[in-house]
Amino acid sequence: MRVLVVEDEADLADAIARGLRRDGYAVDVAYDGDEAVDKATINDYDVVCLDLNLPRIDGIEVVRRIRADSRRPSPRVLMLTARDSTRDRIAGLDEGADDYLVKPFDFDELKARVRALLRRDAGRSGALLRVADIELDSSRHEARRGGHQLPLTPKEFALLRYFMSRAGQVLSQEDLLEHVWDENADPFTNTVRVTVMTLRRKLADAGDSQPIETVVGRGYRLREQP
């Protein structure tokens, strides 16, 4: 899952990015509105955490421009702001924000809201994802297969979560790079292939079949039936 953090307070933006990365999200940071719009036109984000009060272009204008870009699927927008009046909230939500969080916030709440926004896309309820005999609890950061806990790195966890949120769909290496890795990943390395390989090995070790199959020439697919 790829997240864009837009916040002009660098100390805050970096802390949010660090916290989300540790949870396995691919996080990019933009420090002003222009940079945010630029990044959103280049990359596909699942969630944008957006400060309302930005230098040059304000948050509401950023939402408008991101939403206006019809070439890309619209990301979920979580508005972060120090303004707490009802009028500000209404303005933010009316202009296309999906959720609203007032500063200062509890970081666990931010993570919960990001998860909730991601679930809207997956069309599932609860923090628990389940595909065949694989279970993934994104709030507790745990994954199991057939009751056995999987010892996953944050990147593998993020990859599995992305597969599970799109179970049955064929996902290309580009899709995975786009949504699971941030902009610092080198597109010319085989990092995606290697991570998929280690994830498949860990899944196979915990069960008796391989749930992620290779679709030749197109990518990978997580099977919905065992």
Binding site: D8, L12, A15, N53, S85, F107
Partner: protein, 427 residues
Amino acid sequence: MNPPGWLVDRLPEWARSIRFRYTLLYSAVLFGLAAFVVAALYLVLLMALRGEPVSTGNRGKICDLQQVPPQCFTIDVFSARELERRVNTQTLAKLRNYSFGALGVLFVASLGVGWVVAGRVLRPIGRITAVARDIQATDLSRRIELPGPDDELKQLADTFDAMLARLDAAFAAQRQFVADASHELRNPLAIIRTNVDVALADPHADPDDLRHAITVVKRASDRMARLVDDLLALARRQEPVFEHEPVDLGAAVAEASDDFVVPAAARSIVLDRAIAPEVMVTGDRDALKRAVANLLENAVRLAPAGSRISLATGSEGDSAWIAVADEGPGIALDDQAHVFDRFWRADKARSRADGGTGLGLAIVRQIVESHGGKIRLQSKVGLGSSFVIWLPIASTAPDPSSRPSPAPALTPADRARTRPSFDPPSD
């Protein structure tokens, strides 16, 4: 006329109204006038009818010629006069009675008419009261907007409207200030909280990560401390003038600028000081020092390394001036009107990172204005900015109404010289 207090308290509510008193006054006056007219009429008639009777007093003889010898009587004319007098007395008595009746009817009618007329005249006041009550309960953005001719009541309503507009603006400014202040305080709070949350959530954080988080928290809390200081400085100085003492302006300015010699030198900025001696003003020495310090702090923070900052004081006529000129980035013409607003920043991201709270110039303006002075700004983008504070000189006695007047002109050419020169204030 106002009835005594003990009486008013006992009256029922309708009897305490202006409408009732107005009615009473109106009918009393009308009744009095009518009674006077009737009485005058009566008296005039009385005098006229009691005078000489219409017939003249001749004596005559009346003889009965049918009797033989004919009998003659002398007729007494006075008895006819008596008769007339009686008739007159009766007429006057009737007139008096009818007059009393008519006056009674007039009194009752005048009460009724007075009540109706008073109600009609006072109706706009009822409307003003109702709307004012409503506004007080709901929002200050509404106005009475009394229709009708430009009479006393309309003037009253318009005065109310003007007052409401001022109140509304004052409340709005206050609300905006609170919103801005909470916004400014929440940002560093969010930085602290998120960094602490993220650092605590990682059980395997290495010392470098923790050190980084602590550094960030320190930075944010420093910023909050500065902001709280400035907010308190603003809030405390709502009074017109805080201290009334003679202040040697040159000495105060020199003292305030001493703190900036080292920071300026550290950025290889030359701080030029041309301070005139023996200029006395009245006010709060610490506040004036703070005003100068805020101007210098901005200049030192924003001016490029190797540039020159000029600080000068002097006097012209009955005004003293302090000028601070830098060769910094300058302020765009559109922004010049806003620089003294609270929380206004030319470049939010940049000045916040530099440690500006956005309150420095607002504090300067407040201090200067509370001393009965004025502050003027001249600036050109790329060339620099110059701020000039005008204060009334002490010998002329502090008088808030005699504000020193306008704009000293400071052209870039002036600033280019080593010593800044300023035009005197002109009326």
